[in-house]
Amino acid sequence: MHSNSGIRAPYTQVASWLEEIGQPLLELRAKEAEALFRRIGITFAVYGEGGDPERLIPFDLIPRVIGASEWARLSQGIEQRAKALNAFLYDVYHRREILRAGRIPAELVIQNLAFVPEMIGFDPPGKVYSHIVGIDLVRTGEDDWQVLEDNCRTPSGVSYMLENREIMARMFPDLFGEGAVRAVDGYPDDLRRTLEEVAPPACRQDPQVVVLTPGPFNSAYYEHSFLADLMGVDLVEPRDLRVRDGRVWRRTTKGLEIVDVIYRRIDDDFLDPLAFRSDSALGVPGLMNVYLSGGVTLCSAPGSGVADDKAIYTYVPEMIDFYLGEKPILDTVPTYKCAEPDALSYTLENLADLVVKEVDGSGGYGMLIGPRATEKEVAAYRKRLEADPAGFIAQPTLDLSTAPTFTGGKIAGRHVDLRPYCLVGREVRLTPGGLTRVAMREGSLVVNSSQGGGVKDTWVLAGDAPHGGGA
C-alpha cells in the first residue's frame, strides 16, 4: 500500500478480512502454511550457500492485490514488451536493422557472451525465440510501474504463482468465494498450447513435448517436475535423450520415442557438448544440429539471452518504437551504462546513492546498494567498477512500493516486486497474476529468494473495487 492516505482501493477486501480473522489465527495459519509447503516438498536450494539443501521460501499470507484497471494497463505493457524482445532477437540473428540504424550499439549485441553465432540466419518456428518472458516490475507510484529487468531465457518461479494460490485457497476458502479474484490455474494449459504451437517442421503428428531439467539437484527441480506433471508431459534429464536419424528421442520402457518440442530449463552452455561447452558432461550430443535442421524445437531458443542482458535493457524502449511503432507503456529505470565515460564518472561520483549491478549478473548476487552499503563495501566495489567499467550498470535507488506483510507477529509494510509470465507462441498469452516477491527484512530492497526474500499470493481483481477511503 503506497499512499499514506489510508487503504488503497484494491486492498479493501483484504483489510476487512485481516480485521476479521485477527492476529492469533493468522499466526496459526502461517505455521500451517509452512508445514504444508514442507509436506508437499516445495523447496528451494540456494547455490553455494551450504546449509539446508531443501529449504523453504518464506510464504507471506497476506496477498498482494492489483486492481482490474491497473492490470489492464500492465498487461498491455507486458505483452508489448514480450513482442518487441522477440522481434529484436529475430532481427539480431538476421538483418540487424536496428544495429544498422544506429539505435543500439552493435558491440553490445555481437560481443555479448549470450550471443550464439550458430543461430545467425536460422528461423525458429513462428519466429519465436523467447517463449516464456518473465518481466520483473516494481510499482513506484499511484499509476507508475517500472520494469526492473527482463528474463527471456528460462524465468523461474511460476510454480509459486500456482502453489501460493492453492495454499491460500485451501486455508482461506471464503476469500475466493465471490469470484472477485481472477484464476491463475490456466497457466499450465496455456504453456502446453504455446509449446505445441511451435512444433518443428519435421513434426507430423501431435507434438510431443518434454520438459528438460538438469536433474533433482537443481534448485528449481520441484518447479520442473511440477510443470511437467500439470502439462501431462515427460520430465527428462539430458541422459534420457538420444539423437538418431536427425531427430531427438527419449529412452522409455517401450524403447525410443520421438520428441518434438523441448521446454528446456537448462542453460545454453549445457545443451549440447558438441556445440557449446565440450568440457561439460551434461547435455545431449548433436541436439543443436537437429534443432538447426528443423527436427526439434528448443524453448527458449539458444541465444535468447542477448535480449535480457542488463545493458540491453535500457534499449527496450528503442525496440518498441523501432519494431512496433508504439510508445512504451511501461517505464524503464534510468540506467547509467558504465561503459560510457560520462556515465562512469557520474556513477563513481554518486556511488553511495546508486544501485550498481553486474551486466550479466542475476539473482541479486554481486550488486551494490549504495545507500545501504558501508563505506568499506562502497570502496571495495569502486575498485571492481574501475577495473571493468563495461561490466556494470548503475541505477538510482527506487522508491519501491510496500505491501502489508505478516512478519515477526505483526503486520508491517515490506518492499515487493512482481514477475508476471508472458507466453509467446503463435499467440501471446498472459495469466492474470504473477510471482510477488517480498523483502522480509525491514527496509530491505532485495527480494531474491537466494537472498532471503519471500513470496506472496498475487491477486488480480476481476473488477475495480469501490474506493475504500480510510476503512
Binding site: I40, G41, P216, S225, A228, D240, R250, R251, T252, T253
Partner: protein, 307 residues
C-alpha cells in the same frame, strides 16, 4: 514411461522394503543377545554378515556398533536411515509419478533419524525399529490405495517383491551364521530361542503356530519363510508376485522378457522343493543359490527396461 522413471520407482520400492528388512534384522539381533548367556559379539556379527556388511574378524562389534551401522549410518544403503533417505530421493526425482499420499508417506519425518545420538538409539531401539516399520507400512498402504494400477505401480511392486524375497533369505542367514557354542546341543534351549527370535523379527510367531501347531523346529521355520504360500513374506510368495508383475509389464509392453522367464523358473523351482531336500543339501547353500536367482531377475529386469 521413461526408463529412468521406471528405475527410480523400482528402487523406491526396493529401498522402502530394505529399510523395513534392516529394522527386522536389528530386531532379531537385539532379541538373540537378550537371551541368557548369549555370545553377544558372535550374534551381532552374524546379523551384520547376513546384512552383507563387510567386517574384519577382529573388529569390535556390539549393540552400539550394530545400531550405528544398521540404523544410523548416513550413506551406503545398509542402514535404515540411508535406505529411507535413498527411497525418498528416488521418489523425489519422480515426485509427479507418485500420488501425493505415496510421496508424503516418504517425505513426512524422513529426517527423524538424522539427529538421534547413538546411545539414545541403542537404549530405545525397539521404538526406532517400530517407527521404521511404520514408515514402510505407510508407504505400502498409500501405494495400494492411491496409485493407479499402471506400469508405475508395477515397478514399485516389483522392486518391493524382490527386496522382500531377499530379506526373508537374509533372516535365515543370520541363524546360519549364529553358530551355537560347542557345548550347546542342536535343538537345545539356545537353538530354540534363536529360531524364536527369527520368527519374532519376521512378525511370524503367531503365523507359525497357526500353520504348524507345534514346537518350533528349524524345518518348519525355514518352510514358513521360504516355501509357505500363505505367509506374506515368504520367498515363494514374493517370487510369485514378482513373476506376476513382470507378466503384467510384458503384456503392457507387448514383449515377453527374459526377466519374466527367470522369475517363472524360480517360482517353479520353489514349488517343486521340499524342506527335507533343502536340509539334506544344506540350508545355507540353498539360501545362497536362491539369492543369486533373485539377483538374476533384477539384472534381467534392468537390462530389458533400460535402467
Amino acid at each position: 514411461m521413461l526408463s529412468r522413471t521406471a528405475a527410480n520407482l523400482y528402487w523406491t520400492g526396493r529401498y522402502v522394503e530394505r529399510a523395513d528388512a534392516t529394522a527386522r534384522l536389528l530386531d532379531m539381533g537385539a532379541r538373540m543377545t537378550m537371551l541368557p548367556g548369549s555370545a553377544t559379539r558372535q550374534d551381532w556379527l552374524s546379523v551384520l554378515k547376513a546384512a552383507g556388511v563387510p567386517l574384519t574378524e577382529s573388529e569390535e562389534v556390539g549393540r552400539r556398533e550394530a545400531v550405528r551401522i544398521l540404523l544410523l549410518d548416513e550413506e551406503g544403503g545398509s542402514s535404515v536411515r540411508s535406505a529411507l533417505t535413498l527411497a525418498r530421493s528416488n521418489a523425489r526425482a519422480e515426485r509427479t509419478a507418485l500420488t501425493r499420499q505415496a510421496w508424503e508417506a516418504l517425505n513426512d519425518e524422513w529426517r527423524a533419524l538424522e539427529k538421534v545420538p547413538e546411545a539414545e538409539a541403542s537404549s530405545s531401539l525397539p521404538d526406532y525399529l517400530e517407527w521404521a516399520q511404520k514408515r514402510a507400512a505407510a508407504f505400502r498402504g498409500s501405494v495400494e490405495t492411491t496409485m493407479l494400477r499402471d506400469d508405475r505401480y508395477d515397478f514399485i511392486k516389483l522392486g518391493g517383491a524382490l527386496e522382500r524375497a531377499a530379506m526373508a533369505l537374509r533372516l535365515l542367514e543370520v541363524k546360519y551364521f549364529a553358530l551355537l557354542p560347542e557345548r550347546d546341543v542342536v535343538g537345545g534351549g539356545r537353538d530354540f530361542h534363536q529360531w524364536n527370535s527369527l520368527l519374532f523379527a519376521a512378525s511370524a510367531l503367531r503365523a507359525y503356530h497357526h500353520v504348524y501347531r507345534g514346537d518350533v523346529t528349524a524345518w518348519n521355520v525355514a518352510d514358513l519363510l521360504v516355501l509357505n504360500r500363505s505367509f506374506p513374506r515368504s520367498v515363494a510368495l514374493c517370487i510369485t508376485e514378482a513373476a506376476d508383475t513382470l507378466g503384467r509389464l510384458a503384456l503392457r509392453y507387448n514383449q515377453r522378457t527374459e526377466a519374466q522367464n527367470r522369475a517363472e523358473r524360480l517360482h517353479a523351482r520353489l514349488a517343486d522343493t521340499d524342506m527335507d531336500e533343502v536340509f539334506a543339501d544344506g540350508l545355507h547353500e540353498f539360501v545362497q543359490e536362491t539369492l543369486k536367482s533373485v539377483l538374476d531377475i533384477h539384472s534381467a529386469t534392468s537390462l530389458v527396461y533400460g535402467f
